[in-house]
Chain length 759, copies 2
């Protein structure tokens, strides 16, 4: 059996399939997953299937016109059978939508597979909840009035908790429209519906215009002026009807102006005007019915899904405007990048994926996904999506407060920030050079060149359209670079550097420990340890401002010279604040690590030792997979036994369970505290202190995160633009100690010299 | 000035005006009412104007396409100015709708009248409340599922109280749609609206079909099959989607089937199919939004108005079905026969009608209207309406219980009842003969022939379509005959007979009084008096079963021989019931009288005397205007002083106020107890006994009426079909004494011999 699906391109309005870039990759999925899911609606059939991909696998997406059922069956056959192999007996076709019933016999007979019908509404909810819980940047709002305020019309949902909250209303706009009230993971009810949906727009415009595809119709609508056919309040009143708050520009009667036309005028009505009027008609009406339904059920968030939307700006703006207008701003219209695939995704993830009774647990049960944009193809600015990779089960840190927005700065305005960030990160050459330095093979050279091209293409796209893939943040750019490297097979180009840096650092560890132990008080010791963390954190191959220095003298820069690059503690804008004192040693702390080498060895290990010696249970959380020179959980676990000869504290504590090294579940240089490995979430449920280290984890992300326990954020501002945005200077240190009752910070930080620890 | 408007015919879709029969006559309105009201909507302009007519006047209705503003102004000019007279300076054009603003200057300048803008929404409510409160048979429901049960799809609102209750939702469907929540006479709020209205259907069908008028489009829709273009649930699912309760026949996507068509198939889509699908689309959508709006405001009645409906069965059925479906039967869709004229009527009745400051009170303030079908022209079975005549202010009897349905039997089923009634009443010849007998003038002969033709035409129309003018009842047929007589100038053809009968009866009055006085007990006296009422009531020129007998020996039939025709009291189906005993003499009683002659003189006057002598305050309520040989209040008032020489009880009681003769406000042989003259309503506020006499008032109507005080209904079943329908025999007597706590009756009656009075 071969489930290795190429990215086949499917064009819904044409007989020949065309590419749909909405693929979800499953790098950790090594089992075969012989499942294909299909959602056969009145007009379109949506297909999701699994293919192996590198370490794991990928979910692929395609859509067809339902009418082309022969082509669909042919396509499914090609996905389900390898060229010269008999049909795998255990393969399952999960089918939903009306076609699951209508074409059940054809699927069964012509494909020879087990066809399992999944309830359409349940599948929609499973699919949506999957997207809400697992896919960052899935949800966005759209409001063109923002443009006048210098903002983008589109804005991604940034509160990691918000999107997945209940209750919500799902308005799924296919040929017809279903409205579902959702109150829990599988608690939903179809509370409304209407026959005025995508099929109505498409059908009527097929009769009224020469456009032959839905996208052509939408393109027509973009060029039209509905005022030529719609009767406005002003056409009847000569202006506003102020007494009941109707503006002259409000549509009083859709197509009402056509009545007054002479037969000749009617014959010359322009197709774009008709298309635009009809698009408004359907969208306004949907917004109104959706609002009335939400109002009745006391719901304030409406997700619009289905292929009707197609990320068409006029459609989204009309739906948003309508919901805002009718609800006076109380209800929010939300859109989804995978808008059309809810049913198919839901069917894919429903129940067991394999027919074999030997397997009780569905292969994706509890699996989590990370979005991979490396090979994303662009559909429109609002739906360009990459693939999604399994990252193990995840959940939020228990002591994290809501709302939580991981990223400190988003580019939501003019895109100026975005362009500065893109500019500061666009150089791929250091990475290519690094690859070439360690792997002179022709294959590596070819792949490095391909990486360079792939990455450059992304950056060029983003320069033109910064929000192409979601809301732009430094985290996104950092992750994108990692994804491009991985896509080209470079899963850990810093491995040699990390190993070398760690070896060198280990040589200084004994002296480092002795020096801090020799200090007179815990207060002095703690300050010295924090200073070492800051100095160690300067060894950062990911910081453009340091790359040249590192490449010049990699591994040889002594900690003191690194510390010397950090600005002396006088320039803080917050220097007048009184010192923050850690009044008691924590019982159990969680420390998110950053880089390999001096950072981990000379910064983190001695800091952990300080707390271990004073009875604290310490969890060191490190990345699941390599990202830049960040230390991974695997590397950290291997490192600790090697310290035994220097000082047995770490290894002994590890042996007796006082020190835990845990996989954070992350493969990013940044950190989303709602997407942590489940084992870590469980272990950290009762911590009373959290430490987050590094620019990516404590500045680019989590700078504004708040906790129900005391928190320490340590890092150095190594990015000039971020430093400027937060009002500090390049190479200013960050040592931010926060208590649960502190008022929310915006961009203020507390300097290290104002932090102390009670003896 | 001449406001005498001919019934000018206005065709909204043509340049030349065409007749609209929806006229309201104001027979009691003798003042000039120089008011024209116009409601200028986006597509149609509706005009209401006053014209003198016989004793009173008539409100006339016309509609134009708004686009033909020149024709409208020309038409208004013709209504406002006589041929050779200067414009009346005091004339007012009341204008509402958007055009009131848009065309204000043209109206002012070109018509030279005062233009007063009336708020559109307020005018709608004023107009609707006028119709609900004043026009019987205005409101109906429509449900084609009734046909399968052998009933008419249409059913009139028969509870006289129900229609005018608050709150309700008004959905006014013009080019666009407004939805108003109405909580009191002028307490309303526009709570919703949609641009998908009549203009949308008309506009889109102008583009999609060759039909050139809205009515042509509706005719197309009647012939079409929407399943050829709509995608049904069954088209997607192959059957029902039972899990969420969607039937296979439900429209899943309006016009959704067009998507799957080839360009050739699309070119051959049938216009009727398109028209029907679009009619369903708009109507379903309106029903849904109206329901959601009603639901939010906890309203259970929705009135649909506006010229979109045009009494089109498919439209009404779709709106009704939709509201029923979405509300699970909890909300009712109601329609109006004057559906399109709410705004114009409301503007007409808003505020003062005359500019002159000398007149403080609007001429129609407090006026009530009765519907006059005599000259009605037929538009459709659901909107054929006659004119309305002022009948003074009216109100409901205070002791009347709700609900109240005046008519005992409606023909709502197969129309068999209706045909029997029509057949029993279709002879106009006795009336023509009567006219000829008393007025040999050529004019009378001509008018009698015209009456005969007019009445026959109505009866022939009704034989074909029994519910043409509203719900058919015997009352309606009796009133229609009176209206036709009045229309031809015969306001009182029974005057000579009534006078003669009264004279003859007066000769027997002394003997009659002496005979009952001579009886041994009050019990016997009371029974004798009731028997005399029954015997007197046999003198009824309106009862076909008695007409021949009366014409043979008019006025000469002694009371005893009349009594002999009444069936002896043995055949009652209720003879086993125990006697009902009137246990105390009433303090104040109201007695509705019936016929002139023996009935009033020998039946009612002695019965009244019995109570007067025992201290009861007696109000005798008689008709305001002549109807058949019923005695009028004027005639009764003239009669009583003539009894002084026989027995001074009546005249003395009248003089000291113990006896009142009052105008009931009615001009019918039947009686609607919610439409009584205000003076009578006030005087009867504290009665503790009500007596209703006669077939029309106690059998055709009020047989099922219930009261909060004891009530006595006396009459004779002189109509064979009614007797049959109520399970009694022709000439059975009715003496029905009811106490407030009695269970509701259906068709049971209590015989006279079981009634007694406590000594």
């Amino acid at each position: 059996m071969n489930l290795h699906g190429a990215s086949i391109v499917v064009d819904p309005e044409a007989a020949a399939p065309s590419a749909d870039a909405r693929h979800i990759a499953l790098p950790h999925q090594s089992d075969l997953v012989p499942t294909i899911a299909i959602d056969v609606g009145g007009s379109l059939a949506k297909i999701v299937w699994f293919s192996q991909h590198g370490q794991g696998g990928r979910l692929n997406f395609a859509k067809f016109e339902t009418a082309r059922i022969d082509a669909i069956i042919h396509f499914l056959k090609a996905r389900a059978i390898s060229a010269d192999e008999a049909m795998h007996p255990a393969i399952i076709l999960k089918a939903t939508g009306g076609g699951a019933y209508k074409f059940h016999d054809r699927f069964t007979q012509e494909l020879g597979v087990v066809v399992r019908k999944e309830d359409e509404m349940a599948a929609l909810i499973t699919g949506l909840n999957f997207l809400l819980q697992q896919i960052p940047n899935e949800v966005f709002t759209y409001d063109e009035r923002r443009v006048a305020q210098g903002q983008d019309a589109m804005r991604y949902e940034t509160d990691a908790f918000h999107a997945a909250q209940y209750p919500y209303l799902l308005v799924n706009i296919g040929s017809g429209v279903s409205m579902l009230k959702v109150t829990g993971p599988q608690a939903f009810e179809r509370v409304n519906g209407t026959s005025l949906g995508g099929g109505t727009l498409w059908g009527l415009l097929s009769l009224l215009t020469k456009a032959s595809s839905f996208d052509e119709m939408l393109a027509l609508a973009s060029q039209g002026d509905n005022k030529n056919v719609d009767m406005l309040v002003g056409d009847i009143y000569g202006g506003d009807y102020g007494k009941i708050g109707l503006k002259g520009s409000t549509i009083a009667s859709s197509f009402g102006k056509v009545i007054r036309m002479s037969p000749e005028e009617r014959a010359h009505v322009k197709e774009p005007d008709i298309a635009r009027s009809l698009l408004f008609l359907i969208s306004n009406n949907l917004a109104q019915i959706a609002y009335l339904t939400a109002q009745h059920h006391a719901i304030d968030r409406i997700y619009f899904s289905g292929f009707f939307i197609r990320a068409h700006p006029t459609t989204m703006n009309t739906l948003s405007y309508g919901v805002h207008y009718w609800s006076k701003g109380a209800v929010q219209a939300l859109f989804l990048r995978h808008e059309g695939y809810l049913g198919a995704l839901g069917a894919f993830f429903t129940g067991d994926s394999v027919a074999s009774s030997s397997r009780q647990r569905a292969p994706f049960d509890g699996a989590a996904f990370a979005e991979d944009f490396a090979k994303a193809e662009v559909i429109t600015p609002y739906t360009a999506v990459g693939s999604l990779a399994t990252v193990g089960r995840f959940g939020p840190l228990a002591c994290l407060r809501r709302p939580y927005r991981p990223d400190t700065i988003h580019s939501t305005g003019s895109g100026r920030d975005a362009l500065l960030w893109i500019n500061s990160m666009k150089r791929a050459s250091p990475f290519v050079e690094l690859i070439q330095a360690h792997d002179p093979s022709p294959s590596a050279a070819l792949r490095a060149a391909e990486f360079s091209r792939l990455y450059r293409d992304h950056m060029e796209r983003l320069e033109k359209e910064p929000h192409l893939y979601g809301h732009l943040s430094l985290r996104f750019l950092l992750d994108l670079r990692e994804q491009c490297l991985r896509e080209m097979g470079f899963s850990d180009i810093f491995a040699p550097i990390k190993a070398k840096d760690t070896e060198i650092a280990l040589q200084s560890l004994a002296a480092c420990v002795a020096a801090t132990d020799a200090l007179a008080s815990d207060r002095e010791r703690f300050l010295a340890l924090v200073s070492n963390v800051l100095a160690g954190n300067m060894y950062d191959w990911g910081a453009a401002a340091l790359q040249d220095a590192l490449f010049c003298g990699a591994g040889s820069m002594p900690l003191s010279s690194a510390a010397a690059k950090i600005n002396p503690g006088t320039a803080s804008h917050d220097s007048n604040s009184s010192p923050r004192i850690i009044t008691a040693f924590p019982r159990k702390m969680l420390l998110f690590t950053d880089n390999s080498g001096p950072d981990a060895v000379l910064g983190i290990l001695p800091l952990a030792r300080f707390f271990l010696q004073r009875g604290t249970h310490v969890i060191l959380a490190a990345n699941d997979r390599p990202a830049l020179n960040d230390i991974t959980a695997e590397e950290l676990t291997a490192l600790i036994p090697r310290t035994r000869t220097i000082d047995p504290v770490w290894a002994d504590a590890l042996a007796r369970g006082q020190l835990q090294v845990m996989d954070s579940g992350s493969d990013s240089t940044c950190l989303d505290l709602t997407r942590l490995a489940h084992a870590l979430v469980d272990a950290a449920a009762d911590i009373d202190f959290v430490v987050i280290e590094g620019m990516g984890r404590a500045i680019h992300t989590n700078f504004l995160a708040r906790f129900t326990v005391p928190a320490l954020k340590i890092g150095v501002f190594k990015n000039a633009h971020v430093a400027e945005a937060l009002g500090v200077r390049l190479f200013d240190p960050l040592v931010k100690f926060e208590l649960p009752d502190d008022p929310p910070t915006d961009a203020s930080c507390i300097r290290c010299e104002t932090l102390s620890i009670q003896e």
